[in-house]
């Protein structure tokens, strides 16, 4: 059937949260009502780019972008735009006028995210129309496994899960390992707080990952693959299950794919809320049905992985790059990025930045460009303090390195790492000791308990940090933290333990004065740590609206309507709710 118009509706989490489902229902209803159902197609896609202003739809062929929709708007748009042919000006998306910066698309290069938001992830034909499965066809029809690996070597692709191990080398090791049964695994256990790149790819373009895995399987000689996806991503799991089924129906998974002597099938396995399962040996333990605890390496998974067989394990984004590399050539991919870090990388920009969300930029772009040009600068025009990359095992990079190129080597040099692509911006109101404490709490909670230095050491470090933040820091605490950090780093089996001290070490390296202020002066320079601050109400500004008193969880605020309110510091738990709800900014921190 040929449609006159196509309506794409964003089905990403942010838009659904704001009522995209109701808008979609209203679109269907209006299309039925006006008898347009043979002329207009409604497709749910992933993010359309302005999820912060969702629900969002785009109508093709003209590409009109409507945002902030209600079900009533949806009906109105169908009537006006599609029936009468008049686009509804007041509902169309406009560039935010307050940002004099070039639109993000100019600095962004989309490779992995190319199809996300453009195609219906639940329809394999959409992917095929975007040259999908061409690379697999080319590989099976024209290339030997060695040629596939050679092409990857030319591309310079490195693992996008964190450590940046060259992909071609990983594949070569798995290929050369002796064994009749080999496996490929896709690590979709994206657990870093603040990171959601892989979720978007799995939900928006699942077939690119499936195709990448099939190519890897051909290259190393595997016939079975596993997706390991965390249970926190139910939509990704459903999308993948549907995509795998469709690929099977189309003969792109299963026996004798493209008539070649190559068979490959895939299965989705779910994680169950254990962060450590992002570590490859723990992940394989989990697939095998056990507690996900890492083991010693070597042997590496390439020689003895899943059920003791040679296994290639890569991250979602790594696999998603593969079909593009095969299709467009390794040298095309190598033309982007830096000397040692080729291609593009997706980042999830979050925290105190104007434009949060998912971006994809060539490796080697500076932190300044990412924060200010792509991210639109620090939220509310405040002062940049640091950016945290690499997740809980990464580090905080201070202002002095704003012009640092973001690639594997440079991030490591300044005490952080690439990780899977978390990019959390922090401003002057962020307490670096509190942030270090937050990450230590995370790793402490997620430590699997196998290695004593990690299990006990992270708890000791957390206790010290808790004390410092509570205003009970003691001389010698900093030195003890530094000492423990070395033991934990050197005495742990996996990346979680080895990297656990990083947030503390990097904040100590660049923000030691903040630790000292907490310990010796008993002050929190950023006015965050509860034990060291006091909330007060400015009597000049207070209008006596009673909002703070009504919202205070411990009834620490006294005051009659239209009279100045007062906070009782002895009862106050420093939760900050009063400051957040005050309509005239009369609450301040001292």
């Amino acid at each position: 059937m040929v449609y006159r118009a196509h309506i794409l509706i964003s089905g990403d989490a942010a838009c659904i949260a704001k009522g995209a489902r109701d808008v979609e229902a209203a679109l269907w209803e209006a299309v039925q009502e006006l008898n347009l159902k043979d002329e207009v197609q409604i497709l749910e896609v992933s993010s359309l780019g302005h999820s912060d202003q969702g629900p969002e739809i785009v109508i093709y062929p003209d590409g009109t972008d409507y945002v902030n929709l209600t079900p009533e708007d949806a009906k109105f748009i169908i009537e006006e735009h599609l029936l009468k042919g008049r686009p509804v000006e007041r509902l169309t998306y406009r560039e935010p006028p307050s940002l004099p910066l070039p639109p993000p698309s100019e600095k962004e290069v989309r490779v992995v995210l190319e199809n996300v938001g453009k195609i219906d992830p639940e329809n394999i034909e959409d992917y095929i129309a975007m040259d999908g499965y061409m690379a697999l066809g080319k590989v099976l029809g024209e290339m030997t496994p060695e040629e596939v690996i050679e092409e990857l070597k030319i591309s310079g692709l490195r693992g996008r899960g964190g450590a940046g191990f060259p992909t071609w080398l990983k594949w070569t090791l798995a290929r050369n390992a002796p064994g009749d049964m080999k496996y490929v695994i896709c690590n979709g256990d994206e657990g870093d707080p603040g990171a959601f790149m892989n979720r978007s790819v799995l939900e928006g373009d699942p077939h690119s990952v499936i195709e990448g895995m099939a190519i890897a399987a051909y290259a190393i000689g595997a016939s079975q693959g596993y997706f390991y996806v965390r249970a926190e991503y139910p939509i990704a799991i459903q999308t993948l299950r549907a995509a795998i089924k469709q690929a099977r129906d189309y003969g792109l998974l299963g026996e004798h794919i493209f008539g070649a002597d190559f068979s490959f099938d895939l299965e989705v396995r779910m994680g169950a809320g254990a962060f450590v399962c992002g570590e490859e040996t723990a992940l394989m333990q989990s697939i095998e049905g056990a507690r996900g605890m890492p083991r010693t390496r070597p042997p590496y998974p390439a020689t003895a992985g899943l059920w003791g067989n040679p296994t290639n394990i890569n991250n979602v984004e790594t696999y998603a790059n593969v079909p593009k590399i095969i299709h467009k050539g390794g040298s095309w991919f190598a033309s982007m990025g830096t000397d040692k870090s080729k291609g593009t990388k997706t980042f999830a920009i979050a925290g105190k930045v104007e434009r949060t969300g998912l971006i994809e930029v060539p490796l080697g772009m500076t932190i300044r460009e990412i924060v200010y040009d792509v991210g639109g600068g620090v939220l509310g025009g405040k002062k940049f303090k640091a950016v945290q990359t690499g997740g809980p095992m990464g580090g905080c990079i201070p202002e002095q390195y704003l012009d640092l190129p973001v690639d594997y080597e440079h991030l490591k040099e300044v005490g952080s790492m690439m990780g899977s692509g978390g990019f959390v911006v922090m401003d002057e109101d962020t307490c670096m000791v509190d942030i270090a404490r937050f990450f230590m709490e995370f790793t402490q909670d997620e430590s699997c308990g196998k290695c004593v230095p990690c299990r006990v050491g992270t708890r000791r470090m957390l206790e010290i940090l808790n004390r410092i933040c509570a205003g009970e820091g003691r001389p010698g605490d900093i030195e003890t933290l530094e000492e423990l950090a070395v033991y934990i780093r050197d005495g742990s089996l996996c990346g979680l333990g080895q990297g656990a001290p990083n947030p503390v070490l990097s904040t100590l390296q660049y923000f030691r004065d903040e630790y000292e202020a907490h310990i010796y002066d008993k002050t929190c320079p950023a006015k965050v740590c509860k034990g060291l601050i006091e909330y007060k109400i400015n009597p000049e500004a207070c209008i006596g609206c009673t909002r703070c008193a009504r919202n205070c969880p411990v009834n620490a605020i006294e005051g009659k309507p239209k009279q100045t309110h007062v906070i009782d510091a002895d009862i106050c738990i420093r939760c900050g709710v009063c400051k957040q709800v005050c309509p005239v900014d009369a609450v301040y921190v001292e």
Binding site: A13, A14, I16, A17, K18, S51, D52, E190, G191, D192, P193, G194, A195, F196, R199, S200, A231, E232, Y233, P234, R269, M270, G271, A272, G273, A274, F275, S286, I287, E288, G289, A290, R291, G292, M293, W307, A348, A350, G351, K352, T356, G357, Q388, G422, V424, M426, T430, F438, F442, C448, R547, N551, P553, I573, C575, G576, V577, Q580, V581
Partner: protein
């Protein structure tokens, strides 16, 4: 798992499998028991489809998969997603990922506790809400985020909390 030993003993007595639950578990077992790594696979599917894995279910699954109950229990307690008891009709998960933490997640915790009159990991007496903290749900641009069942609520303001809860009966 956050259940104390007393709660678990109590749970053993009261949580016999319902016929529907048993039927669901039997279907999952029939489809997956023979697969490699079945323990984890079956547990995740039971959690997904039944909502919890009570002690009688654990014994039943261990028997069917022919693995020691201690092994199954070991796996179950290792992963935070598994539950041994049913939760409230609506699950409230307050995100404490980095972005949400920085943008006011801790304040929301205080507020939800106040409004519901329960602590974290507890269920209201009427069985309406269970309150939890969760790790990043991947909607950081909407921070601070609260998930109620499958709804992702973004940019939640403490003063909106009571209003937000109204539609969940």
């Amino acid at each position: 798992m956050s259940l104390s030993p007393e709660v678990e003993t109590q749970a053993t007595d009261t949580l016999a499998m319902s016929p529907e639950e048993k039927a669901t578990i039997d279907t999952i077992l029939a489809e997956n028991a023979g697969k490699p790594g079945a323990t984890m696979l079956v547990l995740t599917l039971v959690q997904e489809n039944v909502g919890y894995i009570s002690p009688p279910m654990q014994a039943y699954i261990a028997e069917a998969l022919d693995v020691p109950l201690s092994h199954l229990y070991g796996v179950l307690t290792f992963y935070s997603f598994f539950r041994m008891a049913p939760i409230g009709r609506h699950k409230i998960s307050i995100c404490l990922g980095t972005a949400c933490y920085v943008r006011g997640g801790p304040m929301l915790i205080e507020k939800f506790q106040q409004v519901l009159g329960i602590g974290m990991d507890q269920t209201t007496e009427d069985g309406r809400f269970t309150l939890e903290v969760c790790r990043c749900v991947g909607a950081c641009s909407q921070a601070p985020v609260v998930m109620i069942d499958d709804d992702i609520l973004g940019r939640v303001n403490p003063s909106d909390v009571a209003k937000l809860l109204r539609k969940y009966k």
